[in-house]
Symmetry: C3
Subunit: 143 residues, 3 copies
């Protein structure tokens, strides 16, 4: 944790570099600081996974978009960050805004040119069992 999962319609790949988006979102997660200037997410715990859907259906399927002179090839990007419980609300808003800024940099042109929806949400995990095993964390522990 935290992990950010991106589910999206595959049609956005023609105009968005999803690999670069993932990398920049991870960099942002690593760089976020709390009010005490402490790193919010441990570097070794940052993960972003992106999944284009094999099939999708969005809104009315394209009729209104075509009627408006566009392709009617609607897109959708859903970003869900799951993180551990217990952080303060101002940190949550700060994290969300920072990630939203990255997403909008990458998608603003597409948002303006085509008809797409972008939703970014943060959930606090409510898990009843939690096991973590990692050989990543030791790489980033300060001596």
């Amino acid at each position: 944790m935290p992990h950010l999962v991106i589910l999206y319609t595959a049609n956005i790949e023609a105009q968005v570099d999803v690999a670069a988006l993932c990398r920049e979102l991870a960099d942002t997660m690593v760089s976020i600081k709390d009010e005490q200037a402490k790193q919010v997410f441990p570097t070794g715990g940052v993960r972003v996974l992106a999944y284009p859907a094999k099939y999708h259906a969005v809104a009315d399927g394209g009729a209104a978009g075509k009627a408006a002179g566009c392709s009617g090839d609607y897109g959708f990007v859903y970003l869900n960050l799951r993180m551990a419980r217990g952080r303060g609300d101002s940190v949550k808003q700060h994290i969300g805004k920072a990630l939203e800024n990255v997403v909008m940099e990458h998608l603003r042109t597409l948002l303006e040119r085509e008809h797409i929806g972008i939703t970014l949400q943060i959930d606090e995990g409510q898990e009843v069992f939690d096991a973590k095993n990692s050989s990543l964390h030791p790489l980033f522990r300060k001596n």
Copy 2:
């Protein structure tokens, strides 16, 4: 929001048109009305994404199905609708039943011929941060 994510074993694709299922589920979501005959989900907010699993394992792996004279090639379809909090319970049941009807139309034959499981669930999002950016909604706003 709302968005409906379908996770399924890839073997169902031989007998189910998943693209058509997505489209019909989206159409149904658009058409659902509440008790005041008002559209429950804004058209521009309706999204369905479908993901076949690369690998799967279901139940005992096929032995019981073969012993019963079938292929033993079990399938599974999981549909999860995530929507915003705060709708009344009767609307939730109405939405669920409408989507279940669509799913069953598409999968009934397969359900009867092979051994598959179909689960449809609705979650109310418990997000602690929520950002939406959309160029879809303006297409469907009434003037």
Copy 3:
């Protein structure tokens, strides 16, 4: 229900047999007993679905791993079991530990050789609508 969804970086496939991991996790879920020696999960309800991500970004992207003399090709495996509400805490811990043991058998070598993170969590579904249709369950019902 229950269903176990595995999201992972595709790079682990070079060294992990994900199909076999799915099968063994399903077998374990079928075999788990509660304090009364009763099967916890009905056989026909056990499903495991595995999804490699098309794109991913983990931690710092590889710099620290390379500096430590490794490939810098970090991996991540996230396993999420969603099950019905209402089981006792000791059963939840027992389920979690049993699944973690299977995961670690398959991934321990990779964990030691490369830099990867493995997270296994169990959620209790908080669904507000739930519809199940199955031709699997009758196969496993005792007469």
